[in-house]
Symmetry: C2
Subunit: 150 residues, 2 copies
DNA sequence: CTTGCAAATTGGAATCATTCCAACTCATTC
DNA sequence: GAATGAGTTGGAATGATTCCAATTTGCAAG
C-alpha cells in the first residue's frame, strides 16, 4: 500500500516544515501520507507498521521524530486518552474526540465556535488558555458514521 | 504531618468502599486523608511521599492499589494531562482542569451545568457519552486564587 | 566533482510510570 | 487456633517514550 502525497498535501507539508526551518525528507513524506491516508487516529506503532510497507528500512525512532516535528509545526494534533499510547490526527479544525470504550476507536466531534467561546468564558480572570481539549468517553451504537472521518 | 479523617470523611470512605464490597484499612485511610488534606492534584509519587510521613512502611504498590480502589468506587477522579503521571483529585463536583504550563499546577474550574448540556448536545446521534473531560492548558497570571482549592 | 557541514535518521540502551506477581500479613469465621 | 480471603508488600516485568552516539544524507562552497 504505497502512499503518495497529492501536490496540495506535499506543498502543505513543505511549507509548514519550512516555516520552522525544516525540510521535507522521504521519511517525513511517508509518515505524513500515512496520517492522511487513514484518519483513524493511529498510534505511533500503527504509523510505524503502515509506513514500513512503503519504506521497510524506516525506524521507529524516526516515526517518533517525524510526528514530534509535525506536532511542533502544527501539522497534526496529538490525542491522548487516559494513559494509553498517544494517537495522531491530521484534522486541524477545532474538534473534540469521542473514544468508544467498546472498540477503542476514536471519532472526531465537530466543535461549534460558540461552544469554544462559552468554554473560554468559564475561566476565572487571570487564566489564559492556549488550548482546550475535550474528550468524551462512552459507546457509539453504530459503526462509525464516516469511517474515514476527519 | 499526621493526617486524621473527620468523622464525616471516614464515614464517606467506609460507605463508598462498602458498596463495592471493600473494607477500610489503615493504608486506605491514610491515602484518602492525604488526598483530602491538600487538594493539589498529587501524583501517585506525591501521595506516596506524603503518606509515608504518617506510615513509613507503606509501599508504593499499595498507594497504586488504594487509588485504583478509590477511583473504582467513585471516591476520587483521575486527571491526565498529555502523558504525564496521573494525578488524583477528590473533588467530585463536575469540573474541568486548567494546567498551568509555567508551574505545572492543576486548577479546578467549575463547570456550569448548561455547558455540560451544550457539550452533550454536539454529539451526533448514536454516541452515548458517560464521561466528558475538559482540560485547558495555558498560563495563569497570579498565584492560585484558592491555594487549597478543590 | 570533492569536501565539509548540519540536519536527519538509525538501533539500541535508558527511563519512567505503571502493572504484575508471588509471598506474606491480618482480621474474621468456624 | 486453623482456615479463609482480602489487603499489602517488594521486586520483577512491561510498555511507551526518550535519549544517545554513530551513521547517512542533502547541499553548499570551494
Amino acid at each position: 500500500m504505497i502512499q503518495r502525497l497529492t501536490e496540495h498535501d506535499r506543498e502543505n507539508l513543505q511549507e509548514s516544515l519550512a516555516t520552522s526551518g525544516q525540510k521535507v525528507t522521504a521519511q517525513r513524506e511517508i509518515v505524513f501520507a500515512v496520517l492522511l491516508a487513514k484518519r483513524d487516529h493511529p498510534t505511533v506503532e500503527d504509523v510505524f507498521q503502515r509506513a514500513r510497507e512503503s519504506m521497510p528500512g524506516l525506524s521507529l525512532a524516526t516515526v517518533y521524530n517525524c510526528l514530534e516535528t509535525f506536532v511542533g509545526c502544527g501539522l497534526v494534533r496529538q490525542v491522548n486518552h487516559e494513559r494509553e499510547s498517544t494517537r495522531y490526527c491530521p484534522n486541524l479544525a477545532p474538534h473534540a474526540h469521542f473514544r468508544d470504550e467498546a472498540t477503542g476507536h476514536v471519532h472526531d466531534i465537530e466543535l461549534p465556535p460558540e461552544i469554544i467561546q462559552s468554554l473560554r468564558s468559564i475561566l476565572p480572570a487571570g487564566f489564559n488558555s492556549e488550548t482546550i481539549e475535550i474528550s468524551f468517553r462512552g459507546r457509539s451504537q453504530e459503526t462509525p458514521p464516516r469511517s474515514t472521518s476527519n
